[in-house]
Subunit: 494 residues, 2 copies
């Protein structure tokens, strides 16, 4: 027998208790050693028999490890002479270090212009638990989870193998039919199931709209103040966002018509203006549609929480007045809960094909089970019952909020009641900075959004946007007290 | 009454004892007939009344079936004149031409350049039931639905109100930790949970990558032939897609280095090249990474079905060799089922922030329940067991496929075994057009993809890409027989 230098591994500590198979540990050790240059090109390895004895492991484990190293080209077996480290890739180049030094900082051209625009666009703060007065969260504490679990379980049991396949990019037919019927009945949306697109929420809907209809530089008209999520979607594709102020009747369309450029798209929240809560009057709706026809521009109607208007039935949708001009966007994030990830877009018929292509290229379709369970929840009447209960609950929470605000602040602060029981605006005296107030509040554990955050132009008056849909009446009362204590220094000097 | 030729279905066997509603059977029969080209564009259907009498079923059932077909766009109703087969399904249009006709209804400036590019990009055909030999579908017939239902139900019951809120844009922490561990152990991916992004599937991952890293005109390098979903994502953002041929060791990197421009991104499928099934050799992997360092370019590793390699254990990931350079993309669509809508992207650490912004602006996050259930499925060991069972099943199906192909076609057709038991390529004699063969097959109800569809340049030799992961051995045998009968005229004249 030839006495040649056989290469075992310099350092090899096999851990029998790690839960990682021995062969895998051996494979990894060799692989690392080869990549790191500890084992050089053409070095001969110990035989599987020798190694098994040396390491006191089964020969089978060694062979398994070698098989894998062979399959991946780290070693080669020369019949009759042994096993050798494969040529041509040995560790003179440390790939890892190379990579690291190259990527440590991102040079200016690494990200797309879109990514840079998105990073710069206003973001809503990241998710957080429902502490006072985080906005945008529905009453997750009162969601009927047990009922929902039963429905999900039953829908899951009823799934057949065909339901495991991709659904249509637009969403399952049954669910789209239900959504269309729901929107026809409750929101006077004029639509057929073919026009409905199931999406993961209004944000995906807005993204789909922005990417399918807008080019860099296209003028888009938004309300001022307005919804940051929409602004981020439009800014992302490089649209030129023009803003129009809001008064008691909604967007001031006569001012809009004086914009320097005709917009290609107009984004509005007519049922319940975000964040002021104003309902757009019928007169304004008609002027808006008229203006949109002349431009011509698509109108995007974001109907994000119309289900919860107390005073009257919610106004019929803008879409119903002009179904070929208006793209209607809605979400189940407020009426159900955000982590459901379901919403919908209703399109003019001539846009369906293009959106279907976009949707498929984007992420194919929504999960089947979520669609099936939501469909069942609506069809069986649970959704309508849930909405009724939530309206009562939100009315109670709103009332608790108003009482607490009056008790703590008297008539010192003006309150804009947004008529939906999930949020409202507290206006500060003219001299007080709302970012400063919001900052003080956050130091006391109270989340608020300064109203100036929603304006594209410096706002005349500061305010705090307060969400209270997700917290109990007790939390509301405690929260308002804390808020007063936190911002009191500002107010008394104001 | 006009005497016009009405089209009932050539063969229609309704089974009243099957437990499947009659309307659903009728719907399926029409749908298949339209997809297979048995019912041609503009053919008139019998009236609902006539059909009800003819088939001895209730008119209500017929109307239900027609409603569904209408909703899905398979048929159209012309008021006063009847119901007709709608244009544009498999048998009628060449896949490549599809895009062109799509946007014609809209004036040129209505859609974004992105939407127009996406419409023109090659699309995989729309979803369809698992009929032979539709590709890209796993064995949905053998998925353990009962077990999955129990896990979903249990996870849903365990949900707390906090779980109803938005999760992190990257996905829930527990699930990301599990994915990171899984990828570290099984694919030698070097990653921490912070680098993992939960997405709705590889397509959303590719979209996120394209939009975050690429501008219009940026050069991107792909394999030729290559994956149409990736091509569509890159073409969508206006990238300039350059292609490099494939040989037995994967992408011919020496040819890639001669491209006119250095790419900003290189997309590869090293574990299992799509669609040829080749595994990229270690030598090529290292040259590729070397070239990527020089460019410098990001490397996107799409590891879409590495779980199912038979012969050896799957090769370790490319990402493990250069974690700061490689973006790793994976999906649960194949290992679980497509309508789950879950996948993941592993990013170099310095890209995490930008992707997090993009993800939030895109659709916030994945549904909580799906993440929780998939997490449980992996943690409890069900996933590993499921994968083991599926490997055996796919090996059996592959073997049945190979036997059937040899029996029907002898040695006349060359078969490229792709080593994963979900699909393979049958190469046609040089003179035969694969689009023609695919067209003939589709008229006989057999779905195939012509290999020329995957090439950016005219391919030297035609072939048919056949998926068989989702169908039984019987269906495989019947399907191959039908395929032979369908394309026999071509072969005998070839």
């Amino acid at each position: 027998m030839k006495t040649r230098l056989r290469t075992a591994l310099p350092t090899l500590a096999l851990d029998r208790d790690s839960g990682i198979p021995i062969y895998r540990q051996l494979y990894e050790a060799y692989r690392q050693a080869i990549l790191a240059g500890q084992l050089r090109k053409d070095a001969q390895l110990s035989s599987t028999r020798e190694l098994a004895i040396e390491l006191r492991i089964s020969r089978h484990s060694v062979m398994n490890a070698f098989d894998q190293l062979l399959a991946e080209g780290y070693i080669r077996g020369d019949p009759g002479s042994g096993t050798f480290v494969q040529a041509g890739f040995l560790g003179d180049t440390d790939l890892h270090d190379k990579g690291k030094s190259r990527c440590q900082e991102l040079p200016g051209d690494v990200l797309s212009r879109e990514a840079i625009r998105i990073a710069k666009a206003p973001h809503m703060p990241a998710s957080s638990p429902p502490i006072p007065f985080r906005r945008g969260l529905p009453a997750v504490d009162k969601f009927p989870l047990a009922l929902w679990s039963r429905i999900v379980a039953s829908c899951c049991r009823k799934m057949r193998s065909g339901d495991l396949n991709y659904t249509e990019p637009q969403g399952s037919v049954a669910f789209r039919r239900t959504i269309a019927e729901y929107l026809r009945n409750l929101r006077a949306v004029k639509c057929e199931p073919e026009q409905v697109f199931v999406v993961s929420g209004s944000q995906q809907g807005l993204q789909l709209i922005a990417h399918t209809l807008l080019n860099e530089g296209d003028p888009v008209c938004m309300e001022d103040p307005g919804y940051p999520g929409a602004r981020s979607a439009f800014l992302g594709v490089g649209a030129n966002v023009l803003t129009v102020p809001i008064d008691d009747e909604g967007m001031e369309v006569n001012k809009a018509t004086q914009l320097p450029r005709m917009p290609k798209l107009i984004y509005v929240t007519p049922s319940h203006q975000f964040p002021l809560g104003v309902t757009m009057s019928l007169g304004r709706r008609l002027s808006l549609l008229d203006w949109a026809e002349q431009s011509p521009a698509w109108v995007v109607e974001d109907d994000y929480d119309s289900e919860f208007r107390f005073v009257s039935r919610p106004l019929s949708s803008l879409q119903g007045l002009s179904p070929d001009r208006v793209i209607y966007v809605g979400t189940f994030s407020k009426a159900m809960f955000p982590s459901l990830r379901l919403g919908y877009v209703v399109l003019p018929k001539n846009l369906v094909r293009a959106f279907s292509d976009s949707r498929r290229s984007n992420d194919f379709c929504a999960p089947f089970l979520t669609q099936a369970a939501m469909n069942e929840f609506i069809v069986e009447g649970h959704f309508a019952r849930h909405l009724r209960r939530m309206r009562v609950l939100y009315a109670e929470r709103q009332s608790a909020m108003l009482i607490a605000l009056r008790r703590e602040f008297g008539n010192y602060l003006q309150i804009s009641n947004t008529d939906t029981g999930m949020d409202l605006v507290v206006w500060l005296p003219a001299s007080i900075s709302d970012t400063k107030a919001s900052h003080l509040a956050s130091r006391a554990g109270i989340l608020t959004m300064p109203m100036s955050f929603f304006y594209s132009t410096p706002s005349k008056r500061g305010g705090l946007f307060l969400g209270f849909g997700a917290i109990s009446q007790n939390q509301i009362r405690e929260g308002v007290k804390k808020l007063r204590r936190a911002i009191h220094p500002l107010l008394s000097h104001g």
